[in-house]
Point group: C2
Chain length 274, copies 2
């Protein structure tokens, strides 16, 4: 498990003033979990070189194996992620040949298709190909800014754009193959909805179930009251070396939990399949 | 500004496996920004006492003035926020009289209204009133778990439930009055949508505008291409001691920016009001 620790850093003032909802981190966390990775922390920071650099250093100090950073790769002055990475790792920023070719091709394509007048490599465009030394550019199938990976073996730092479609496309094309090659764990999750029992009365029943099923995680989410009936969602998750083992652990725990819930007057809500 | 630094910590495995979108942090960031606070960082961590404690210590070390924590105040074993706070601050957990009365009253009300059979204070219910020494309980107008504040003057730690309606209700009733009493800053933001110019060509125009308007922040958000036309949202923000000054700074910068954009062949998108 220790080599599967992921952290996600989202860079952008728009996330910290409550303008933009951080759907990128949510999407990444879901994908990584399904791939068997363990997402230990998500962080949002401002478009500030020192903040970015400090946050990366903190992650590295905590022992992250995969640091996924999204946002701040574009051409404008407020796109500062690569400067922050370079500062954190104490590396120079240099124009990367592969990245420059990727950027150049994009603008040539746009000029050829009349989207753009001139395909010249302005400083703002060259900026997107200026990477920390030792980086590898990851092709962006949709937008102009390439993704970036700094592969330190046990610690990989991967930078993706903040535009959701671009972030997702690079992740699918270039990052998923790396993760599946490295991680051999499987995740399983099932949820049920119950009624007729208070969360505070459910608490000891969950603890009892966990004592018998130490390899699962059980979490209850109160969903409020309706006509005096309390509704709770219960989510059971497990990780294992085999998909079938993770599934069996979840199912065994759920079966035991449901039977004690019914003993204590609770019942499955309609629509819940177990 | 230095006494207005906010950080938000969201506690919950469900956020890190990509099950639940972190709308709480988004809502809090928006409210705090509108109240004149500066949200410097948001963090999501697991339901783990050591992780919670460590994240709080890191925030304190970074010099946070207002640390808002949501999630993990409920009655079940996986609600670990107050244990994490107690550990971070090296304080005992003790049953708080005010909090216990709040919890007791809620269950009595539910028993009186037939929602619940018995109002007895089970260990799971007493848990919600077991707070780090020196805490003050904040009434929860909707649910059972009280909010908690540990007011250290220049550094306040505020814990709110993870259920959005409860979090919002406690924040509005008990936290907003504290913030408005303490912070005398105003925030202003305006956005425009432009077409006909690439983000990489916009970059030097933004930099020029910023050179003349150093007290605003300008951020561009590419919104993709439609029929070969690139669309960009531009957001200009400012903070000031007076609401009218913040507004004037934003408007002056926008006026200058729009005029250079038009000079360079861009234009306002339909629906953009400036």
């Amino acid at each position: 498990l220790e080599s599967d620790i992921f952290e996600i850093i989202s860079v952008g003032n728009e996330l910290l003033i409550g303008k933009t909802l951080n759907t990128n981190a949510h999407w990444l966390a879901k994908m990584i979990t399904e791939l068997g990775g363990f997402v230990k922390r998500c962080t949002i920071i401002r478009d500030d070189v020192d903040d970015i650099s400090f946050a990366i250093k903190e992650s590295v100090k905590r022992g992250v194996n995969w640091l996924i950073i999204s946002g701040g790769l574009g051409p404008t002055y407020d796109d500062k992620t690569l400067q922050g990475v370079a500062k954190a790792l104490d590396r120079e920023l240099i124009i990367d040949d592969d990245a420059l070719k990727m950027v150049e091709k994009k603008y040539e394509y746009m000029a050829d298709h009349g989207i753009l007048k001139k395909a010249e490599l302005t400083p703002a465009r060259v900026k997107m190909a200026t990477l920390p030394k030792g980086s590898k550019a990851l092709p962006n199938p949709i937008g102009t800014a390439p993704g970036v990976i700094i592969d330190g073996g046990e610690r990989k730092i991967i930078c993706l754009p903040g535009v959701p479609m671009e972030m997702e496309a690079i992740f699918k094309e270039s990052v998923i193959p790396l993760i599946t090659k490295s991680i051999k764990k499987f995740y399983h999750e099932e949820s049920i909805h119950i009624i007729g029992i208070m969360e505070s009365d459910l608490a000891p029943l969950i603890e009892k179930t966990l004592a018998n099923n130490p390899l699962v995680y059980i979490k209850s989410h109160p969903k409020g009251h309706e006509e005096g009936i309390s509704k709770i969602e219960i989510q059971v998750t497990a990780m294992a070396e085999e998909s079938s083992i993770a599934k069996k652990r979840v199912e065994d725990a759920l079966e035991q939990l449901v039977s004690v819930i019914i003993e204590h007057g609770g019942m499955m809500d309609k629509g819940s399949t177990r």
